[in-house]
Symmetry: C3
Subunit: 139 residues, 3 copies
């Protein structure tokens, strides 16, 4: 019998960074007792996003931040600047990554590969409270 | 009892632009009478895409267009040029954004954040008729 | 009556390339006898990804490879270099494209547009065995 569950997860970011939260998602999946189905994560922001990345070497995250700073630099060349110089680059970084992820759940677990971790990607300079909606449909 | 609904939505773009259509999606969701579930939008094109962006300040959209023109410039350096100089950049912009979005529906509404709007992102210079498939599964 | 099916598909890539596999997906959908629902593809890697692109002119794929080599160049400027000079660029290309695709299935077929094909996008220089999880939920 198909059923579904929702959860609103709050994460606290500390400026531009990649915050891993795979474990928090796994624990919630277990709490729903749904064994097989589809999990969807929705990030309710336009200046923070979701991504799947290597979960081992921390230098990967450093290179990711440097890359996005290079292709989406802060500066005075944006028309939208009222909310700070880091706001428009944050919108663009969000567009280039993911606002949502949908991950199949098999035998109670996300079908992640060995090296895959799920991250909140904060694009603003300051700390923020971020909300991710988790939705699981299955049986 | 789980059920599902489909809808084919036609949008008319006016050259390179971001066309908001959140309201049209919301109205269709209401018409299905599904209260909780998962909505998926599929854009049936390779030179137009979907994105989630700030729905207030119109200068955000201006900056988005300028950014994509900068990182994916038109020019004579593409091998694929038969369909016009704006066609290959349009394919690349589509790859960098989204062909689909999946959004949880809770209590009859998409779980969008306060500032999130859904846009068709037209990457070609001329007007086009674009087709988005809407699929909603829930109860 | 809603049901769901899973399949683990193995693909063999031959270095940096776009490998079409739309037909393999279609055949599996037919084998499930689910007529309407939602298909999700999950790529279990952080150096290969999924994309939807034009399925006709092969020069499109050549331009795509050249574009990603330009915006995510190999080089000595990455902190993460232990796994080879092509590894960190591969992670970044994965982030800029898709780890998952969710595609509505209507009357036994994916709702792809006329020119849309589904590709595995291999970002490493060498051949790899890649695993894609297919999940279909519907009736």
């Amino acid at each position: 019998m198909m059923k579904q569950s929702f959860h609103h997860l709050i994460l606290f970011s500390q400026g531009k960074s990649l915050l891993p939260f795979t474990q928090k998602i796994s624990e919630w999946i277990t709490s729903t007792s749904i064994q097989n189905g589809l999990l969807t994560l929705w990030c309710r922001h336009t200046s923070a996003s979701l991504t799947v990345q290597e979960n081992v070497d921390p230098t990967v995250r450093k290179d990711i931040l440097a890359f996005f700073d290079r292709i989406v630099p802060e500066g005075n060349h944006y028309a939208h600047s009222l909310e700070g110089l880091d706001d428009m680059p944050a919108h663009l970084c969000t567009m280039l990554t993911n606002t949502h992820l949908s991950i199949p759940i098999e035998n109670g677990k996300m079908v992640l590969g060995t090296w895959q971790g799920i991250y909140l990607f904060e694009h603003r300079r300051h700390s923020h409270e971020r909300e991710i909606v988790l939705h699981l449909m299955g049986e």
